[in-house]
């Protein structure tokens, strides 16, 4: 257990063991019995660790996806590009900080990055609105998508949002239309679009920047039509059943990969991305490069068609 990482509830056993091991190790000399105990504890720790991380429930993944120390968009941006020119505003009255975007570079190719961004503390979250974009945020995103289209820049979107903001002003400014228009316009772009769900893929608010040629998901990220809590409240009539809902909804990276929605699951370090941000970013970058290499070989029309066909195929029904 790494120090200064806030443990999740299912990690508590590890935490206890880790403490005991630490205490024993602090002691300058150990009697034989203690040596034996230390070895046992370490074995137990490794076993517990393996058990826990190999048997994470979907809702455990939700907890990891929402971990307050999980890397956010700016962390990825800073790790994968030597520079970042952030571009601001929807041009019509607002710069929504729940969505950030701008120019980065990968292997000498300019890329437009557009991402949802949460804050790490109250002040930051006031600014970022807990990563819940307003219509103006989606309109800023659209402006940047169109900018990328004009200048032949691939687009990478980084997604981690509880969803589009459900507020009075958001409705008055037509949240629905902002999302809908992005869905339509993303579908028509002739540059590569890669979306990476790195935390919570919160319904339409996530999809609004997620109509991509490739959807990549970090191992412990989730993507869902509704939050487990919201689903539980409606279908089970209590938010307490969120864990059941998480399972039923099939929201983990693995689920989405199996359903043919996610194109790749990007591995995370044991315990989750926050245990090793560098490693996570390295995995993300190498995955981006791999997919970009393929997409860069397609021309504009092929890229548009590739993206549209990806979504055209989604859905299960019977006919006859």
């Amino acid at each position: 257990m790494k120090a200064n990482i806030v443990p999740l509830d299912f990690e508590k056993p590890l935490n206890t063991l880790s403490k005991q091991i630490n205490e024993l190790e602090q002691k300058s000399s150990l009697v034989n019995g203690n040596k034996k105990l230390l070895i046992d504890l370490k074995t137990e720790y490794e076993k517990a660790k393996a058990d826990i991380y190999k048997n994470l429930s979907p809702f455990d993944r939700v907890k990891i996806a929402r971990h307050p120390q999980r890397p956010y968009a700016v962390d990825y941006i800073n790790h994968i590009s030597p520079s970042f020119y952030e571009l601001h505003g929807d041009r019509t009255g607002k710069d929504d900080n729940a969505i950030i975007g701008g120019l980065i570079e990968i292997d000498g190719q300019t890329i437009m990055v557009v991402a949802t961004q949460k804050g790490r503390n109250i002040k930051e979250n006031q600014k970022r609105n807990f990563g819940m974009p307003s219509p103006e945020g989606y309109r800023k995103a659209l402006r940047l998508f169109q900018h990328a289209e004009k200048f032949n820049m691939p687009i990478i979107t980084l997604i981690d949002t509880p969803g589009a903001y459900p507020g009075l002003e958001a409705e008055a400014h037509n949240q629905s239309q902002a999302i809908a228009l992005n869905l339509r316009e993303l579908a028509g772009l002739t540059v590569p679009v890669i979306s990476i769900v790195y935390g919570e893929g919160g319904s339409g608010g996530a999809l609004a920047i997620g109509v991509a040629n490739r959807i990549l998901m970090l191992e412990n990220s989730v993507y869902s039509v509704i939050s487990p809590e919201g689903c539980a409240a409606i279908l089970w009539r209590t938010r307490e059943k969120a864990s059941e809902a998480a399972k039923a909804l099939k929201i983990t990276a693995k689920d989405l990969y199996e359903l043919g929605i996610a194109d790749e699951v990007i591995p995370e370090p044991v315990g989750g991305a926050h245990y090793n941000i560098e490693e996570t970013c390295k995995n993300v970058l190498s995955s981006i490069k791999k997919h970009l290499d393929v997409l860069n070989k397609l021309n504009g029309e092929e890229l548009r068609k590739d993206r549209q066909e990806k979504f055209r195929k989604i859905g299960e029904y019977i006919q006859g």
Binding site: L168, R184, V211, Q308, R312, G315
Partner: protein, 319 residues
């Protein structure tokens, strides 16, 4: 002649008066027993008792308070397209249970129950019809079927309808009434938003007209995808339309919302829709809009083969 037959006849006669040159063949959507046996209907808004038959004649608009009561998907279509011209397509695209989803009740059971209670096979009916002799591709949502929620079938049927509109170069009309995406199909439901919007991009680039009619209620993933992408957005009076539900918003912002919040009139005032149209004006407005958007286009011509080309004709229709 039993009571049922009596009413059937009565309804036919009423309908006949409404429709010029309506041939005396059977109504396509046969009213359910329940409807037939209900002489009176209580207005949901003003509580006045109304003759059911008279109410139908008035397009289900209350003559006392002008309340636009809910229509079935087929009633919508019958009110809008020329009598006997509607040909349903993709009626055989049916729901399945891709996630083997179960909450307090299995999704499979919900589907069965929905079919029984709504007399519909899914939450949308799509097809081709004509409005004042102008052919259109038209889809109409069925709120009675799991709250008009959009799952794979709704997404697929809308997408196919759009594809047909593109192929035949037809104006598209979609009538929404939905609580949003269908949870029971999880991420597949969400992705129908992208699928339908992507198809609409092609329609848009093909220069074709799309009129979206928003009816009580239209929310969530439906509003946030195809329903808001019309070239012209029309709503029925007082219809509630929005992204998030009123309660969710009140819980989030912890304040009371204005009374008219998310009504059609509120949306008009806030620049979100083009017009609020009374149900009795709808057909004329749609007819005019289709004409106004097609008469300049020299490439546009009436496709005589149109109806014959439609392979899948589920109902005996006047062709």
């Amino acid at each position: 002649m039993g009571l049922k037959d009596f009413f059937k006849n009565r309804q036919l006669k009423k309908a006949a008066k409404q429709q010029i040159e309506m041939p005396s063949i059977e109504l396509k959507s046969i009213p359910s027993d329940e409807t037939l046996c209900t002489l009176w209907t209580k207005c949901q808004s003003c509580n006045q008792l109304l003759y059911t038959s008279e109410l139908k004649k008035e397009l289900s608009v209350c003559k006392h308070c002008d309340h636009h009561s809910r229509l079935t998907a087929m009633e919508r279509i019958e009110q809008l397209v020329d009598y006997g011209t509607f040909i349903e397509i993709d009626y055989d695209v049916l729901p399945t249970d891709p996630l083997t989803f179960s909450d307090l009740k299995p999704y499979k059971d919900r589907l069965q129950h929905a079919e029984k209670s709504s007399s519909a096979k899914e939450a949308i009916v799509t097809g081709i019809g004509s409005i004042d002799n102008q052919p259109v591709a038209i889809g109409s949502m069925e709120f009675q079927y799991i709250g008009g929620s959009m799952g794979s079938v709704v997404g697929e049927k809308i997408t196919r309808l759009i594809e047909k509109a593109i192929k035949k170069r037809l104006p598209l009309i979609l009538i929404s009434s939905s609580g949003g995406a269908r949870m029971h199909e999880g991420i597949l439901s969400l992705m129908q938003m992208a699928k339908t919007s992507s198809a609409l991009k092609e329609l848009h680039d093909a220069g074709l007209l799309y009129i979206s009619l928003l009816t009580e209620p239209t929310f969530g993933g439906v509003t946030a995808s195809f329903a808001m992408l019309g070239d012209i957005l029309v709503a029925e009076p007082k219809a509630r339309i929005g992204f998030a539900g009123r309660r969710v918003i009140e819980e989030t912002i912890r304040q009371k919302l204005p009374k008219d919040f998310q009504t059609a009139e509120y949306l008009l005032l806030n620049g979100q829709i083009d017009m609020v149209v009374h149900r009795k004006e709808l057909k004329k407005v749609f007819s005019d809009l289709v004409r106004l958007h097609t008469q300049n286009d020299k490439k546009f011509f009436f496709n005589d083969e149109l109806v014959l080309n439609v392979k899948d004709t589920p109902l005996l229709a006047k062709v």
